[in-house]
Symmetry: C2
Subunit: 223 residues, 2 copies
Amino acid sequence: MNHEHISTAFDIELNELRQSILVMAGKVELMIANSVKSLVNRDTPLAEQTIAFDHEVNGAEMAVDERCLELLALRQPAARDLRFITIALKIVTDLERIGDQCANIAKRARELNEEPPLKPYIDIPRMAHWVEVMVKEALDAFVQGDAAMAVKVCKDDSFIDELNNQIQRELLTYMIEDPATISRALKLNYVSKSLERIADHATNIAEMVIFMVKGKDIRHTIV
Amino acid sequence: MNHEHISTAFDIELNELRQSILVMAGKVELMIANSVKSLVNRDTPLAEQTIAFDHEVNGAEMAVDERCLELLALRQPAARDLRFITIALKIVTDLERIGDQCANIAKRARELNEEPPLKPYIDIPRMAHWVEVMVKEALDAFVQGDAAMAVKVCKDDSFIDELNNQIQRELLTYMIEDPATISRALKLNYVSKSLERIADHATNIAEMVIFMVKGKDIRHTIV
């Protein structure tokens, strides 16, 4: 087998790795959508299903990790490919933790669905939509090596922080006006914070993508 | 240079990597202690200092990352060493995020120090102490390859979760009894949640150590 062949086989393996990370990301995006849907539609079976689905994301993380180690050991990649694989290792950890946050949201939904609704949910589904887009764009940036898209994700994070602050301020007024709402308001606060943490994970992924593409570390500088 | 020599040089490099991760962990442990001390002692200059210190932790993460990539590229390690380096890459990300949480605690301390104290802080420093021990033990387990110590860290996490729940329940009673306390109680709630997140990072590190030592993945199974 000459070098040309090895390189081609490795390219196929890297593409398969990219695909399996995208499949994992798709599972996580579904969890974001369904966890918030289970809250908004008061759909407790969907909440249960989302909590159970977290196992699939965990399994996907372990499989990608294992594959990255195999590729590092067998292919001994250099430069750009090495950076791609080591960043893949870090990215799947973020994706797995996003799954954990979605399971947490679904658990709060399950509790909130047992009580009368505090208010119509307007801002939380809106926030969830934007967070889901951030995760999708961060992963697209990763597989396409698109630094410009990754920079956009980093910038969007401050919008999510602002939305989270706004939701928290609104919930605070409910709590002050009527202490009977405090328990429910705290749970909604928790949902909003979980979405904000998911956006942080998307931002972390995007920062690593910029590092991967540009080869220099912009973490801790642009956001 | 024969194989013996290469192996020895690489061993020295791996030891240096271990040391630099321990130094980074030491900075993070100091941040945990100081962030909570700035709250308990109402020491706003210490809070400012802790927030500024986060840059040092960020710098340490980038340096360790860079070194791991160099070792992967130059030494092309296999088996146990490969697993050690790839897990080092993931662990420093957790350490860096612990630093972020400490900076968040210090920011809440800075705000809380401007207002009359809600209550004497008993449980939060106690929780911070245990969380700091968990981080220290998780890192010791990593550098010593000590799976038993890592298992202990994973088990301690449920104690921290329980402490966090207890603190949250207590703060809830303050909020219900007197809405004027809500804003301060929410900030203390936030501090408690940040400590709980730090414990989660320590647990994540410990789970990766068990994977490193045993070679099989116990993440998502034992806790």
